[in-house]
Amino acid sequence: MAIGWYLSVSAIVFCIGAGGVLARRNPMVIFLCLELMLNGANLALVAFARMWGGEAGQVFALIVMVVAAAEVTVGLGLIVAIYRRRLPIDVDELSELHG
């Protein structure tokens, strides 16, 4: 398969994630959609690594995975803290930092 097909799939996955981040209100689902965006970027990185025959892109994809895992840990910790304080789990309600 040509590399362009893989890039198209990665673009579609990224856009689905971006639309989900914009449209959903549950922070957990927003994190899931962020994962989708990161995975789309990962697929593009791996496809480019295949295109050039170098492995730097794959190392980059691994580092992106590590960053995603760190983001999930901190984000879900935040959600648990929000839940403990009896605040609504809804990004439209949690707008105290909104300017």
């Binding site: 398969m1 362009g4 989708l36 990962n42 690594a49 999930v72 901190v74 803290a81």
Partner: protein
């Protein structure tokens, strides 16, 4: 063969991604994400990135999904919230516009590399041995930085999610004091209706036998 595998994996990945966004219950969204991640690992394998595919399945589909499932089970699905009126229309519109634009840019580009099948395959490309050698020689600094980042994230999550007395001290007693629950509350016997439920005992105290229950007046026939 690789084309068939590619289309199967790609359709599965896109279906899983759509499921994450469209399903109302967060638990089902997490399951859809797991499905998406596994099919993405198949795409990685087609791109000869064995180590990344294995890491995808182990780290994402193994560890991250488990964290998500735990948090969804702890917090609960919550009410399925409809999105705001403006973003509910603008978000998908923006996503579709971006996807169309990116696909036009990718498929219509004059770059030869994008049209080609990639560099000629070198034996050992993408295997754990190669990636590990790179991580410990050329990319040692990002590797160490990633380990520090993971340590910071773990400590940060513990600090964020622990109980703080100052912030929620007033609500703590209500958590600890629990009203005495009647027997069989929350058991399968209650759910199946074999035992009287707590609700029945509260609303019909005469069901204990103090008041005569109206006998069914079946005398046979209509």
């Amino acid at each position: 063969m690789s084309q068939v595998l590619f289309f199967i994996a790609a359709i599965c990945a896109i279906t899983g991604a759509l499921g994450v966004v469209l399903l109302r219950n967060p638990f089902y969204s997490v399951l859809a994400l797991a499905f998406h991640l596994v099919s993405l690992a198949a795409l990685f394998l087609l791109l000869r990135a064995e180590f990344v595919a294995a890491g995808q399945v182990i780290i994402y589909a193994g560890a991250v999904i488990v964290i998500y499932v735990f948090v969804v089970a702890y917090v609960g699905g919550g009410a399925s919230l409809p999105s705001g009126a403006v973003l509910r229309v603008l978000g998908p519109l923006f996503a579709v516009a971006l996807a169309v634009e990116l696909c036009i840019a990718i498929l219509g580009s004059g770059l030869k590399g994008v049209k080609g099948k990639g560099a000629p395959y070198v034996s050992g490309f993408g295997t754990p041995a190669h990636i590990g050698t790179l991580l410990l020689t050329k990319y040692l600094f990002p590797f160490e930085a990633a380990s520090i980042l993971l340590l910071l994230a773990a400590v940060g999550a513990v600090v964020l999610a622990r109980r703080r007395r100052g912030l929620e001290g007033e609500e703590e007693p209500s958590l600890r004091i629990r009203t005495a629950e009647p027997d069989y509350t929350g058991t399968m016997a209650e759910a199946a209706g074999v035992r009287p439920t707590a609700y029945d005992e509260l609303t019909h105290p005469e069901a204990e036998g103090a008041a005569p229950t109206p006998e069914p007046t079946h005398t046979g026939g209509w």
